[in-house]
C-alpha cells in the first residue's frame, strides 16, 4: 500500500516573540508524516511518498521529512502565493499520477489556519474523507480505514473505503525527533522536482490577500490582591455576577 503524505513549510509557531522565526514542517503535517511512517513500520504500508509545494527554500523542510524516514520526496516548484483551492487542484493532478491508497495530510497549516485542502482534494477526487483524525485502523484487508475524528461534541468514529483522504489532528501521535546523523544522511537523498506544467495542471489562485493588519489590543487590565476584591470588581465594575 502506497501512502502519499503532504507537508507545508511554516514559520515556527513556537518561536518566542521577537525571535527570527525559522521555518519548520507544519506541526499537523509532521503528525501525518509520523503516522505514515508507523504504517510502514507495522508492515501496512510499503511506500511513503512525501510532497510539498513551494520554491527551493523549502528543501530544508524536505530534508527533515527525509530524515524522519519518508521513502521519496517530491517538490512541486511554485513560488506563487497559492490559495487552498489552487493547492488542492495541483495535488489532485499529482494524486491521479501517483495513485496512492491513502493521502495523509495535516488538518490545517498553522500559519494560514484555513483547514481546507484535504477536504477539497477529497472532493475533487471523489474519494471519501476522514478529517481531524486522532486514530486510524485498517479493516477488511486494508480495503477500509476506521477513523476516530475529533469533533465539537466528542469523538466520532467512521469507516472510509480506500482510497481515501485522511487529515491528522493533534492527538493522532507524537512525531519522532530527527537525529543529527539522520539529517546528515538525508542531505544525500534525492529530491524530485516537478512543475505544474509537467503535471499538466494550470491553476490561478482565486483568493487575493489585500492587506494584513494587527488585531486591536485588549485594554490592559488590573491586578487584584484578594478573592474579596475580585468578587467586588466582578459585581460592581464588570457586572457579570
Amino acid at each position: 500500500m502506497k501512502i502519499l503524505v503532504t507537508f507545508k513549510s511554516v514559520p515556527d509557531p513556537y518561536a518566542g516573540a521577537g525571535a527570527a522565526a525559522k521555518s519548520v514542517i507544519n506541526p499537523f503535517d509532521e503528525i501525518a508524516i509520523e503516522e505514515a511512517l508507523r504504517m510502514r513500520e507495522r508492515g501496512e504500508a510499503t511506500e511513503v511518498v512525501g510532497v510539498t509545494i513551494g520554491p527551493a527554500q523549502v528543501d530544508e523542510q524536505i530534508r527533515s521529512a527525509l530524515a524522519m524516514g519518508i521513502d521519496r520526496a517530491l517538490r512541486i516548484d511554485d513560488s506563487r502565493a497559492l490559495d487552498p483551492y489552487a493547492l488542492a487542484r495541483i495535488l489532485y493532478s499529482l494524486v491521479t499520477k501517483e495513485a496512492p491508497q491513502v493521502v495523509l495530510m495535516g488538518k490545517q497549516a498553522v500559519d494560514d489556519d484555513s483547514n481546507q485542502v484535504g477536504q477539497m482534494l477529497a472532493g475533487l477526487l471523489g474519494w471519501p474523507q476522514a478529517t481531524f483524525v486522532s486514530k486510524i485502523e485498517f479493516l477488511d484487508d486494508k480495503k477500509r480505514a476506521r477513523c476516530g475524528r475529533e469533533t465539537d461534541s466528542g469523538i466520532e468514529v467512521i469507516a472510509v473505503k480506500l482510497p481515501a483522504v485522511i487529515t491528522a489532528d493533534l492527538r493522532l501521535n507524537e512525531p519522532r525527533y530527527v537525529s543529527l546523523p539522520g539529517l546528515m544522511k538525508a542531505r544525500k537523498k534525492p529530491i524530485e522536482t516537478l512543475t505544474c506544467e509537467q503535471l499538466g495542471v494550470k491553476v490561478e489562485p482565486l483568493t487575493t490577500i489585500l492587506s494584513i493588519s494587527s488585531p486591536p489590543r485588549r485594554p490592559s487590565g488590573v491586578r487584584v490582591t484578594s478573592v474579596e476584591e475580585l468578587i467586588a470588581k466582578l459585581k460592581e465594575e464588570a457586572k457579570v455576577l
Binding site: 477539497m120 474523507q129 475529533e150 466528542g154 467512521i158 472510509v160 485588549r218 487590565g221 478573592v227
Partner: protein, 320 residues
C-alpha cells in the same frame, strides 16, 4: 431566486444556535438567502427557522442523511446550490462546517474563506477579514470567480432576530441512490452533561496544566463552573495530560469562544490558547506566576495559588 445558501447545523437533531449567526452575514451581503438543513425527521427544526427572513427553508430529509457524513452532505449541498443557482454558501465555523464546506467548494468550483470576522469594502470591492497565525494577524482577502464558500466566526456576528413574516418550507428532492456510499458511520461518543454548551455559554471556566490531576480539575474548574452555571474549557496541555476530554480544548485548533466572563485557572496564556478566548468580554486570570502572559489580556488578574483561592471563590459565590 436565492443567491445565498446558509447551511444551518444540527447536532443529533437539535438546532446548534451559533449556526444561526451566519444569517447575519447573509443579510450584510444583501441578496436573497435560503436556509438549508440536512438530516432526518426535521419537521420541527424546519418550522423553527421560518422567521429569519429567508426566502425559503430548504429541507433535505432522508434516513441516509441521519449522520453528517461529509461526502453525502457535500453532494446534497452542491446539488441544492445548483438547483437554486446560488453563488454563495455560508455556515458558522465548527468541526461540522469545516469538514463539509471545503468539499462543497471543490464540487462547485469555488474558492473558500475560513472564519470570516467581518465584511469589508476595499476600493468598492467586497472583501472579507479573517484571522491568520492563531489570530495574531488579520488578513483582508478578496475572492474572484463566480461562486464563493465562506465559514463565519459565530462570535463575530450577532444572533439574527427571528421577526420576519414566515417563509415557505420546501423539501429538497434528490435520488438517495445517487448519494456517495463510501463512508460508514460507526459511533459517536455520548457524554451526558448538565452544563451548557461551551460554544454558547455565558460563563466559561478554563483549566490549564497547573491543575495537575483530574480530581483537582473536576473539583476546582468543575466546581467553579457549577457555582456560576458555566461551561468548562481547557488548554491543549490540560487535554494532552488527560485532565479534560478533547472537545474541551479552546484555542487555535480547538474552539473559539466569546463569553461574557472567562475565568482562566492555572493557564499561562500561550498564543494558541489566547486565539480562542480574546474576544471574551471579561477575562479573569488566576495564576501563581506573576509573569504569565495571560495577565496581559486579563481584565482582572489575581496572582495566587489556585488550590487556595478557588475554593474561597466558590464559597463566596455560593454565599451570594
Amino acid at each position: 431566486m436565492a443567491k445565498t445558501v446558509v447551511l444551518i447545523e444540527l447536532d443529533r437533531g437539535q438546532l446548534k444556535r451559533p449556526s444561526l449567526n451566519a444569517i447575519t452575514l447573509a443579510r450584510q451581503l444583501g441578496s436573497d438567502y435560503a436556509l438549508l438543513i440536512l438530516g432526518h425527521s426535521l419537521n420541527e427544526v424546519a418550522s423553527s427557522l421560518v422567521s429569519y427572513g429567508a426566502s425559503t427553508v430548504l429541507v433535505a430529509d432522508n434516513p441516509a442523511l441521519a449522520e453528517p457524513l461529509a461526502d453525502r452532505y457535500a453532494w446534497v449541498i452542491a446539488e441544492a446550490m445548483r438547483k437554486l443557482s446560488a453563488t454563495t454558501l455560508l455556515a458558522s465555523s465548527s468541526t461540522f462546517s469545516k469538514d463539509i464546506l471545503p468539499r462543497v467548494a471543490a464540487l462547485v468550483d469555488a474558492p473558500m474563506v475560513t472564519d470570516v470576522l467581518a465584511l469589508e469594502q476595499e476600493n468598492g470591492e467586497t472583501a472579507f477579514r479573517r484571522p491568520v497565525n492563531a489570530g495574531s494577524m488579520l488578513a483582508t482577502v478578496r475572492l474572484s470567480g463566480e461562486r464563493r464558500v465562506l465559514t463565519v466566526r459565530a462570535t463575530a456576528f450577532p444572533t439574527p432576530a427571528a421577526d420576519a413574516a414566515p417563509c415557505p418550507i420546501e423539501p429538497f428532492e434528490f435520488d438517495p441512490a445517487s448519494l456517495p456510499n463510501d463512508t460508514e458511520f460507526i459511533s459517536r461518543e455520548e457524554r451526558a452533561s448538565d452544563r451548557p454548551d461551551l460554544g454558547e455559554a455565558r460563563v466559561v471556566i478554563g483549566g490549564g496544566r497547573a491543575l495537575r490531576d483530574k480530581e483537582s480539575f473536576d473539583r476546582l474548574v468543575g466546581g467553579l463552573a457549577d457555582s456560576l452555571g458555566g461551561a468548562i474549557g481547557a488548554t491543549r496541555a490540560a487535554v494532552d495530560t488527560g485532565l479534560a476530554p478533547n472537545d474541551y480544548q479552546i484555542g487555535q485548533t480547538g474552539k473559539v469562544i466569546a463569553p461574557d466572563l472567562y475565568i482562566a485557572l492555572g493557564i499561562s496564556g500561550a498564543i494558541q490558547h489566547l486565539a480562542g478566548i480574546k474576544d471574551s468580554r471579561i477575562i479573569v486570570a488566576i495564576n501563581k506566576d506573576p509573569d504569565a502572559p495571560i495577565f496581559q489580556v486579563a481584565t482582572y488578574g489575581l496572582v495566587a495559588d489556585l488550590h487556595q483561592v478557588v475554593p474561597q471563590l466558590i464559597g463566596a459565590i455560593k454565599a451570594g
